[in-house]
């Protein structure tokens, strides 16, 4: 069995009285592409923020390569080889591509002076690695001049730098046009080809089905399904399953739902 890069055990998170996550287990093995699917509000983003150390879980355990960790933080997560591409891309749009790729881990030499040439070489190499090349843009280009898909490319290039073993992509194609989405998938495929693990979060099931080896369906803060590629025949299978989970016993009619809503009020 492949080495387990990260394992989240029985993770719960509550904001006051509201439970975002209630005892979620999730693990990613080396070289594996896991698709995390779920409706809006299912807790996907919260889970990702816990994984990347931005949010602290209310309870639960995080294991990196089988060992429990303490003091989990964004910096620790990166040290452990986990790179997260956040939904809002977390780019500084007035800065150059180079500055964004090396944000928070500038290549420095004597007394903290930047190794400017080395950074440019490395940035070029990373961008070439994910197939993000253009005659128009260079590592000196300002990120604000790039299109949505290209910005996502910068975020992914930043993620694959150095020893990153697991790339977490939080809805990388949200709010992108079809051609821009295609570009992003091209980048993701290149990352996959490099043998890194990927945790791909999305609510477009077709996209996730296309790329993942294993699917985890999250529903209202709980794991509703974990299935390998061989167990799921088509994207439609997954969609049907999710509809079943969301509305047991068939999809209620619009009127019924409205009545129920009124009654609850």
């Amino acid at each position: 069995m492949a080495e387990r890069i990260i394992e989240l055990r029985d993770i719960s998170k509550s904001y006051g009285q509201v439970y975002a996550l209630g005892g979620v287990n999730l693990s990613v093995d080396r070289g594996e592409v896991v698709g995390l699917i779920g409706d809006n509000g299912a807790g996907k983003s919260t889970l990702i923020k816990i994984l990347s150390g931005v949010v602290k879980p209310t309870s639960g355990e995080i294991l990196v390569r089988g060992k429990p960790v303490t003091g989990w933080s964004p910096a620790r997560s990166r040290e452990a080889g986990i790179e997260t591409v956040f939904q809002d891309r977390a780019l500084a749009v007035q800065q150059t591509i180079v500055r964004n790729i090396f944000m928070g881990r500038e290549l420095t030499g004597w007394l903290g002076w930047l190794k400017v040439n080395k950074e440019i070489q490395e940035a070029s190499r990373l961008m070439r690695e994910i197939g993000f090349t253009s005659k128009v843009f260079t590592p000196h280009s300002i990120v604000g001049q790039l299109s949505g898909g290209e910005r996502q490319g910068v975020a992914i290039a930043r993620a694959i730098y150095k020893k990153a073993e697991l790339i977490v992509l939080d809805e990388p194609t949200t709010a992108l046009s079809l051609t821009e989405t295609a570009k992003v998938f091209h980048f993701v495929r290149q990352v996959r080809a490099s043998g890194r693990s990927i945790l791909f979060i999305g609510h477009n099931i077709h996209h996730v089905f296309d790329i993942a080896d294993r699917f985890v369906v999250l529903d209202r803060g709980k794991v509703a399904l974990t299935a390998g590629r061989s167990e799921v025949k088509s994207a439609e299978d997954l969609i049907n399953f999710m509809e079943d989970v969301a509305h047991p016993g068939g999809l209620p009619g619009l009127h019924e739902a409205n009545d129920a809503g009124r009654a609850a009020r």
């Binding site: 964004p74 500084a92 090396f102 903290g112 002076w113 070029s124 300002i142 295609a182 998938f185 296309d210």
Partner: protein
């Protein structure tokens, strides 16, 4: 959505990818001059404003503007402003503002005056002043950052508080430091070299070092990123609060040096030392081309802005207009510069 609407995920980029593969990256133009202009457009714009302004002054009164005395007097006081304008560019880039630097100038130079008056070497006084400035900068920065206060209001409050403290203790009395004139520190930092006030060389060295710090150092890189997108910087593991405190400390150090220089020019410390610099220094930062929204800025532009602002006062009077025109021209240059920079720089979101 039908399946045919889905993008072709298998071969998205088609032929274009192979064409581009293996090509090396180039700057938008291989022409270094065009790249230089693109990278420094704000600073160059400020330089253009300065040149046009000086041309107007020279046409208005050629005789005065060709005498060295005019430049010599500007070069004596300009360095004091430069030592605070440059750190303020860092603060504004970081998305903050610091209005407490005039009081820090006064406080740090007071410490300098006390040490010199007590008979110690002025070098020790300079060291004590810089230590004081560092401490005050840290205090102001911590108050803003860890106290979660608005830097605009909190630093304004600190300015009044510190200045008030100086006034209460000194009861408005100044300190004369006649012994300074014979000291080595005076010769090194405040004398004249071939008729040129020597402090301008120190100020230029400071500007060059700071410009490198801004563009070629981890500190500058992090300041820009924090000012641009603090959430992103946080997610990427940058200690955002620490970076913010550091820029206030940098202002404290700059203000301490500026205050000390102003005392060495006059051989006297006044309890109001530094007060007159608040508005001209702030104007210099923005005239220089650093925008108010953070993330970008220009140290060299700020320095040229300081030169512009200090020439307005001298220039208006020297050009034969009455002193009443100074404020009008100050305002005119600020507004014209802002309009120019707005046209010159795009804002990305």
């Amino acid at each position: 959505m039908s399946k045919t609407m889905e993008p072709d995920l298998q071969s998205p980029l088609g032929g274009t990818q192979n064409e581009a593969a293996g090509q090396e990256w180039r700057h938008p133009s291989d022409n270094w001059l065009r790249g230089f202009i693109l990278d420094n457009r704000a600073a160059l714009g400020t330089l253009a404003v300065f040149i046009v302004m000086m041309a107007v002054f020279m046409i208005a009164n050629p005789t005065v503007f060709t005498t060295w005395y005019l430049y010599s007097s500007v070069l004596t006081t300009l360095p004091v402003a430069l030592f605070v304008v440059v750190p303020l560019v860092f603060v504004v880039t970081c998305g903050e503002i610091d209005l407490s630097f005039p009081a820090t100038m006064g406080f740090a130079s007071w410490v300098f005056a006390l040490v010199v008056q007590a008979g110690y070497d002025p070098f020790l006084g300079i060291a004590a002043a810089i230590a004081t400035g560092t401490l005050l900068g840290f205090l102001v920065g911590s108050l803003v950052v860890y106290g979660g206060l608005s830097s605009l209001i909190a630093t304004l409050g600190m300015n009044f508080l510190l200045r008030g403290l100086i006034q209460i203790i000194n009861e408005g009395k100044s300190t004369a430091l006649t012994s300074l004139a014979d000291s080595w520190a005076y010769k090194i930092f405040s004398s004249q070299l071939y008729g040129i006030p020597v402090q301008i060389f120190w100020a230029i060295a400071f500007v060059v070092l700071s410009a490198l710090l801004y563009n070629r150092h981890r500190f500058g890189a992090q300041v820009r990123v924090v000012g641009d997108n603090p959430d992103s910087a946080q997610q990427m593991g940058i200690d955002v609060k620490r970076v913010r405190v550091k820029v206030f400390v940098f202002v404290g150090i700059g203000a301490a040096i500026a205050g000390t220089f102003s005392v060495m020019i006059n051989f006297t410390w006044w309890p109001t030392a530094g007060d007159g610099y608040l508005l001209p220094v702030l104007a210099s930062v923005f005239v220089g081309g650093t925008p108010t929204w953070g993330g970008i800025g220009t140290v060299v532009g700020g320095a040229i802005g300081a030169v512009t602002v200090s020439f307005i006062q001298t220039g208006v009077v020297a050009a034969g207009l009455s002193g009443f025109y100074v404020q009008f021209f100050n305002g005119l240059i600020i507004i014209l510069s802002l309009l120019g920079h707005k046209w010159n720089q795009a804002r990305y979101r």
